[in-house]
């Protein structure tokens, strides 16, 4: 297990969102959290990244409670990309990606040749070299999302957390992000946990799905096993048919809202 959550209770001020959630993520896995709005997906992701402190329970990275790790040490092992991040209007792609090296720099901040190589590699991996001097704010949606992923890559993490990385992108840019995730997983062994709204994409690009409802795990496992009409009815209140493509990847076709849902 690379990352593990045990008995997480998460709340925003007094409002409890997640009540007793446990999950375990193996090394080199790609996992998608799915579930309706308000089911606690993003909240769980924030807790895994320590941006939200749990009211109860704990998150363990390589068996160490992440609350006991220094922020810098955690940031060298785990990167999170929140939903819809914003950059100052003049920040260039290069500057943004360099920020990904900050957990590796000493306090006086002098970068080494290795840091420059990592930045160059992250830009190459996300195909942004020719845009390095453009302000992030002037990029198209797909390019911008790749720039934020390059920032996370520059941290050289073992675990990458992505909160709705494809929302607001057109289909081809959505697939571009998903293919990038798959490539990084395969070539580097990067462990990825992402929140996705598109269930078909989640099924196609993940080893495992974790379905959440009201802050609890209601189903988890390989997409082909857990993606069933019953699950979609129970979790989303949607009647759907499940089809399988030649690779055995399931996909759902919505038929309508479930009666009484």
């Amino acid at each position: 297990m690379i990352l593990e959550a045990r008995g997480l209770r998460l709340a925003y001020e007094e409002r409890e969102v997640v009540r007793g959630l446990s999950l375990a993520v193996g090394s080199r896995e790609v996992i998608s959290l799915i579930g309706p709005n308000g089911s606690g997906k993003s909240t769980v992701l924030r807790a895994l990244a320590r941006t939200l402190r749990p009211k109860g329970g704990a998150v363990y990275l390589h068996g160490h409670d992440i609350q006991t790790l220094s922020p810098g040490k955690l940031a060298r092992q785990l990167a999170i990309l929140p939903q819809g991040p914003e950059a100052p209007p003049d920040l260039t792609v290069r500057e943004l990606v360099w920020y990904g090296r900050s957990p590796h720099l000493k306090w006086w901040g002098r970068p080494t040749a290795t840091d420059a190589e990592v930045v160059a590699w992250a830009l190459g991996e996300t195909k942004l070299e020719h845009l390095a001097d453009r302000p992030v704010a002037t990029l198209s949606g797909g390019e911008r999302q790749r720039a934020w992923i390059a920032l996370a890559l520059a941290q050289t993490p073992e675990v990458l957390l992505l909160d709705e990385p494809t929302t607001y992108l057109d289909i081809s840019h959505q697939l571009e992000v998903m293919e990038l995730v798959r490539r990084l997983n395969r070539s580097l062994g990067l462990t990825v946990i992402m929140v996705l709204h598109d269930i078909n994409q989640a099924a196609r690009y993940s080893h495992r799905l974790i379905a959440l409802q009201n802050g609890r795990v209601v189903a988890e496992g390989e997409p082909a096993y857990i993606l069933t009409p019953a699950l979609l009815r129970q979790v989303f209140g949607v009647e759907a048919r499940i089809e399988y493509d030649v690779d055995g990847v399931p996909m759902y076709l919505p038929l309508g809202l479930a009666a009484g849902g």
Binding site: A75, E86, E95, W107, A113
Partner: protein, 354 residues
């Protein structure tokens, strides 16, 4: 780099052109350094003019000879007893307000943030006016002391009110507006009920450097110098905070701790500045914006450039305030607004039409 994954190999095999990337980055760096350099020259020019101009005019060479103690008796006396401390105080007040404003705009990610918005100015005003009206016979150094205490108290109240398991910048700004209104109401009440002291109090509230000397400098420099130094050391963290709390935390920043430290620094610098010079407006809001328009939002350059430009602008305004309506001295706060606002609007328009 992490040892567990195949990064090293991937990076070796990648065809990323790191040398070219660094080179392109250097061009940007050179431009930022150039702006900082020009800022320093402007500051030196304003400083020299500020010391040189007055009822007795001194040329630039005489000014620096006098500062270094190599001139004749008269210029040396004028410079060392009157003009040098005033210019030095002006530099630090301008730099302190500008850096304070830049920090607040950064940590709150709000372009409207400035030292006034977090209760510093209203607190200082209430503190100073309380001493002037209720304790008119108190020794004169009570006024800056009370102003400083009031400034810190105002900021502390605003911060406490805005705290709910963390600081939401918008909540802090709204709390700041509310607390400032309350403190200003208190100040007005004191002024109305003690009308015999209104003249002195109003002059203090508008802000100015008239009659400020070495004793004020002694009280001012430790706070501003420390504040600016710690701010510069924290510049990289402010850059990360600009990406949002969650990303900054994910990049290893202790968000709440850093924000508290930087807000406290901003309050101390602005508090020290206004306690010595009165409620000088506009510098804390305008100088960081102006600097940002010139060189972008990288705080490693924004903070030092704001400091020198803030100092330059305040000295220039104070010099103008002394000589424009000679022998009457205008309050410098009027001049900072009159000089700063049009230039700011010019930059804003030029920028938006590009």
């Amino acid at each position: 780099m992490t040892g567990r994954l195949a990064y090293a190999e991937a990076i070796r095999n990648g065809n990323g052109n790191s040398a070219g990337l660094l080179l392109a980055g250097r061009r940007q760096r050179r431009r930022q350094l150039a702006v900082l350099g020009v800022g320093c020259l402007l500051f030196l020019a304003a400083f020299t003019l500020g010391v040189g101009l007055g009822p007795v005019r001194l040329g630039p060479v005489t000014v620096w000879e006098a500062i270094l103690g190599r001139s004749a008796e008269l210029p040396r006396t004028i410079v060392w007893n009157i003009r040098l401390p005033r210019a030095l105080i002006g530099s630090l007040v301008g730099a302190g307000l500008a850096v304070s404003g830049a920090l607040l705009q950064g940590v709150m990610r709000n372009p409207l943030a400035d030292p006034h918005i977090i209760g510093v100015s209203a607190g200082a005003g209430l503190g100073a006016v309380t001493v002037m009206t209720l304790f008119p016979l108190a020794p004169p150094h009570w006024i800056p002391a009370a102003a400083f205490a009031g400034a810190l108290l105002g900021a502390a109240i605003v911060y406490t009110l805005a705290w709910r398991g963390g600081i939401a910048p918008m909540r802090m700004i709204l709390a700041g507006v509310a607390v400032s209104s309350l403190f200003s109401a208190g100040t007005s009440a004191l002024l109305v009920t003690h009308s015999d002291n209104v003249q002195a109090a109003m002059t203090w509230l508008i802000g100015g450097l008239a009659g400020r000397g070495w004793s004020h400098w002694q009280r001012l420099w430790p706070y501003i110098v420390t504040g600016v130094a710690v701010s510069l050391a924290s510049a990289r963290k402010v850059n990360l905070l600009l990406l949002g709390d969650d990303l900054a935390a994910g990049l290893g920043v202790r968000v709440e701790r850093v924000r508290l430290l930087l807000i406290a620094l901003a309050a101390v610098m602005a508090g020290a500045a206004v306690s010595v010079a009165g409620l000088i407006g506009f510098i804390g809001l305008i100088v960081p914006h102006l600097t940002r328009l010139l060189l972008g939002s990288d705080y490693r350059f924004l903070l030092p450039t704001s400091a020198v430009l803030g100092g330059a602008l305040l000295i220039a305004a104070d010099t103008a305030a002394r000589i424009v309506a000679d022998p009457v001295e205008l309050p410098v706060g009027i001049l900072t607004a009159a000089m700063g606002a049009p230039f700011f609007l010019y930059l804003l328009r030029r920028r938006s039409t590009r």
